[in-house]
């Protein structure tokens, strides 16, 4: 072949070689096929551990029971037994060390999530006891009359 064919060809090959060389330095060593194939598993392996080591914020009811047995047992015996403590009391991540970090949600909005009356007969929502938020003591906090740990008690 003539020179005018070879010269641009060498330039192109040089660029490819340069890119491959740069890749050696710039791509992390653990970058490769780690899943089931190239299409779905081409990634940086250490990223899996980065995700695994994220802090767990919601600790679960068992952790609350260790110190707050009285409240936890009362709530466990009630109809609210399936509600996690942390749904109202906030995620307990830093709580044992710094109790001030636990913001208790006492707002009406929290109770209304389930107890605002929605007339849906084909959904479990329709079977829950509900109120009309606009007419049922709209200015009061629910906990002034109802104890969320003992919901079966009649309001005074």
């Amino acid at each position: 072949m003539k020179n005018h064919v070879w010269r641009p060809l060498w330039v192109a090959l040089g660029i490819v070689a340069l890119i491959l060389l740069l890749r050696q330095f710039m791509a992390p060593a653990d970058f490769g096929i780690h899943g089931r194939n190239f299409t779905y598993g081409f990634h940086r392996l250490s990223n899996i551990d980065e995700w695994r080591t994220m802090p767990v914020k919601y600790q679960g009811k068992a952790g609350c029971l260790e110190c707050h047995e009285e409240q936890a047992v009362a709530a466990t015996a009630s109809r609210h037994r399936d509600i996690q403590c942390e749904n109202c009391h906030g995620p307990a991540l830093a709580h044992p060390d710094n109790p001030a970090l636990l913001p208790i949600d006492r707002g009406r909005d929290l109770c209304l999530r389930c107890h605002a009356l929605l007339p849906y007969p084909t959904s479990l929502r329709g079977a829950l006891k509900g109120i009309e938020p606009a007419t049922h003591y709209p200015e009061a906090l629910c906990s002034e009359c109802h104890n969320p740990h003992k919901p079966d008690q009649e309001a005074p």
Partner: protein
Amino acid sequence: MASTRRKFLQGSLAGIVTAVIPLSAFRFLSPDQARAAVGEADTRWVFLVDTHKCVGCGLCVAACKRENEIPYEVPVTRTWVERYVVTKDGATHIDSPLGGRDGFVSERVAGQEIDPASISKAFFVPKLCNQCENPACVQVCPVGATYQTRDGVVLVDRSWCIGCGYCIMACPYGVRFFHPVHKVAEKCNFCYHRISQGLTTACVQACPFGARRIGNLKDQDDPVTQTIMTTRVAVLKDEYGTKPQVFYIGLDNEVR
């Protein structure tokens, strides 16, 4: 030029040698490495949603946002709850204010008043990443920043994502969004940090009604697996061929 036997053999030999030499460029695996590369994982995370049990309280959405550090006031979320109200005239009213973060407290659907007597059926549908067996979002990533783990969860590498947004467009379920703080693609990953250490996901833990459950499809004794195998379940947008792994009990045709 007449072909001789000698020339033919010489030519064949040269051809074989040139064909074999590039093979040395490939990596040869030990039998253990090869087995590890193709071997089946003993975990396949799947999700089971019972739409009969969901009451639309949205505690799952609130817990998810706090657990996974998704800015609370920004209207993006990894999981969300949709409300479907079908009236007797055949119309379907759908809404999901803030993804259901604050629950559903009003009878108004998308700002529209609906007469309770006209409702023929109404229900809530929680949605989250389907962790597809053939994830379209992973196929389109140009830099290898999103991938499927061996246990079936699709993750995003935050330090590698360039934020091009292809995956956000590719997901047929609208699960992905742009993380307002990290400026990369963000998605539900079944709380990978929790399930990897034996905990359940934040949304499953927060749900007081047992509408959400997570399980391992490869474990025949797993109650979620047994439910999926023995009851009638459906998936979303089966026609896309993505093989979604979030199974729904009581899914309606109105749900898309």
